[in-house]
């Protein structure tokens, strides 16, 4: 079995040996980076600096939530608003691997800058097993380049430390629970954020649409879970498909984009089954999205693909 208590003790002891004085952590506020930060903090205390980057592709109110988390943890942190940088870098880019690589490179560039200013030689990342497995290596095919692996330069200036490298999400959650972290149960959110939940070019305008749609899907599903109408899926969100179809709204022709609802059941993201959301809940989500964004969205579809052959995210 996996014993989180042993893992915590071994990891802290190892971190004390491997981290050269100060370190910087790439802090998204998700389960993996928060658990990593808590472990490193136990090893080197205030010599850890958390860096959170607002890429512009975060969920609704995410940055506020992340700042709250960093403050609750008592982390020494830097908040970097890089929204315009990321939007500009992704202008005209629609190929998913290219998007992921550009985002990964942008991240590392920002971290290197902060490290330079603060005289830090070590970068901590919350990389977990599926991140490096799916990013490929000499023996393994690339499924998708995870931002924390695929964006790394060949020659790293910073020493890379990844305390959760051999763990899967369910194991990270177990560690998080022992550390009393409230984020332990949070659903996963990919590093490249909403940029990979927009098929094609991830423009600021499309980002607003998918951000709103993701929020509706999350809110409605969480409400249904709390009312006992369904079990909590492992992950649940919306994807914007910029394909236009015809509709009718108020005796008028509509011609707008499509939103796909995605929800899956898994423990480790290596295999997934699509969740069976009750039809009334799907109906609620569908009506909410089209009523709120009817000018842009007039069709909602539900993704019924397992992994394999699909993956959880669409890009």
């Amino acid at each position: 079995m996996f014993r989180p208590e042993d893992f915590i003790a071994d990891t802290i002891a190892n971190l004390k040996k491997t981290i050269p004085e100060k370190a910087l952590i790439a802090f998204s506020g998700g389960v993996d980076s928060t658990v990593s930060a808590a472990l490193v903090q136990k090893a080197i205390a205030d010599n850890l600096i958390a860096v959170h980057v607002d890429t512009g592709y975060m969920r609704k109110n995410e940055s506020k939530f992340v700042i709250k988390t960093m403050e609750e943890l008592g982390l020494n942190y830097r908040f970097i608003d890089a929204r315009n940088d990321f939007y500009q870098a992704l202008e005209g880019i629609s190929e998913p691997e290219q998007k992921r690589k550009i985002i990964g490179e942008k991240f590392i560039h920002i971290f290197e800058n902060v490290a330079d200013q603060e005289n830090i030689q070590c970068l901590i990342q919350g990389t977990i097993a599926p991140d490096w497995i799916e990013s490929g290596d000499a023996l393994r095919a690339v499924i998708k380049s995870h931002h924390n692996v695929g964006g790394l330069p060949e020659i790293m200036k910073l020493k890379l430390v990844e305390p959760l490298r051999d763990l899967y999400k369910d194991e990270v959650r177990k560690v998080g629970r022992i550390l009393n972290l409230s984020i332990a149960e949070r659903q996963p959110f990919p590093g490249p954020g909403l940029a990979i939940r927009i098929i094609g070019e991830a423009t600021p305008k499309r980002t607003e649409l998918v951000r709103e749609a993701c929020d509706i899907v999350e809110t409605e599903i969480e409400k249904a879970v709390n009312d006992g109408k369904m079990g909590r899926p492992w992950q649940y969100f919306a994807v914007l498909i910029p394909i236009k179809t015809v509709g009718v709204q108020g005796d008028q022709r509509a011609y707008g984009y499509t939103i796909a609802i995605r929800a899956v059941q898994s423990i480790d993201a290596m295999t997934c089954a699509f969740s069976t959301i009750p039809h009334q809940i799907l109906d609620k989500i569908s009506t909410k999205i089209t009523n709120k964004m009817g000018a842009h969205i007039n069709r909602i579809v539900y993704d019924i693909t397992n992994k394999p052959p699909g993956t959880v995210e669409w890009e």
Partner: protein, 200 residues
């Protein structure tokens, strides 16, 4: 018999599969002393480790039917311990023992029903005749090697599981190491049992 050890030791030979690390995790959860070893390791290296068993992982499309899979042939030729070939490892095992493997007419991905043909086999103890397994393959074993017994099938893939008649060698087309395979952990438990009770 080798040196006495507390734990059963089974290594995973990495043929580049997406789920190689999941095989390692499943074994670790069963308290097995395990490690992932690249398929380029030599047999003599492995022989020094006093192993109780080997798992040959899956890999990318066509590697099981075309490639040498590193030194997998050497392991199959020389090892006197139980071996479990999964996906590409299973296809390679079939080729090594003069069976054939080729692109599937209907590749299978995700949820599939497995039908056991011989549920009394030690590898399938406490696994029902019909169960859900998770698949991910473009290729499959098309002719059973002469020295093998056919153990399981699915609607679209006839040879889902096989076993050597006299050696403790097993091949599985489906993936017992992933969460969504209903009795995957039981199959691994059975394999660990086979390994720890095998007299070299």
């Amino acid at each position: 018999m080798g040196i006495k050890k507390d734990m059963t030791r089974i290594y995973v030979i990495d043929n580049g599969g997406q789920w190689t690390h999941r095989e390692w995790r499943t074994l670790r959860y069963l308290n097995v002393d395990t490690k992932i070893i690249p398929n380029t390791a030599s047999y003599s290296q492995l022989a020094q480790e006093n192993l109780d068993g080997l798992v040959l992982s899956g890999g990318a499309p066509r590697v099981g039917i075309q490639d040498q899979l590193g030194n997998c042939a050497e392991f199959l030729k020389n090892a006197n311990i139980p071996i479990l070939g999964i996906c590409a490892g299973h296809q390679f095992m079939a080729r090594f023992f003069n069976g054939t493997a080729a692109p599937s007419k209907t590749p299978e991905f995700g949820r599939v029903t497995l039908y056991l043909l011989n549920s009394s086999d030690p590898l399938f103890q406490q696994v029902p005749q019909e169960s859900i397994v998770w698949e991910s393959h473009h290729d499959e074993v098309t002719n059973l090697p002469p020295a093998f017994i056919h153990l399981a099938k699915s609607t679209d893939c006839f040879i889902q599981a096989m076993r050597h008649q006299t050696k403790p060698y097993y091949g599985l087309q489906f993936h017992p190491e992933v969460e969504h395979t209903e009795f995957g952990e039981q199959i691994f438990k059975n394999f660990v049992h086979i390994c720890s009770n095998y007299t070299k």
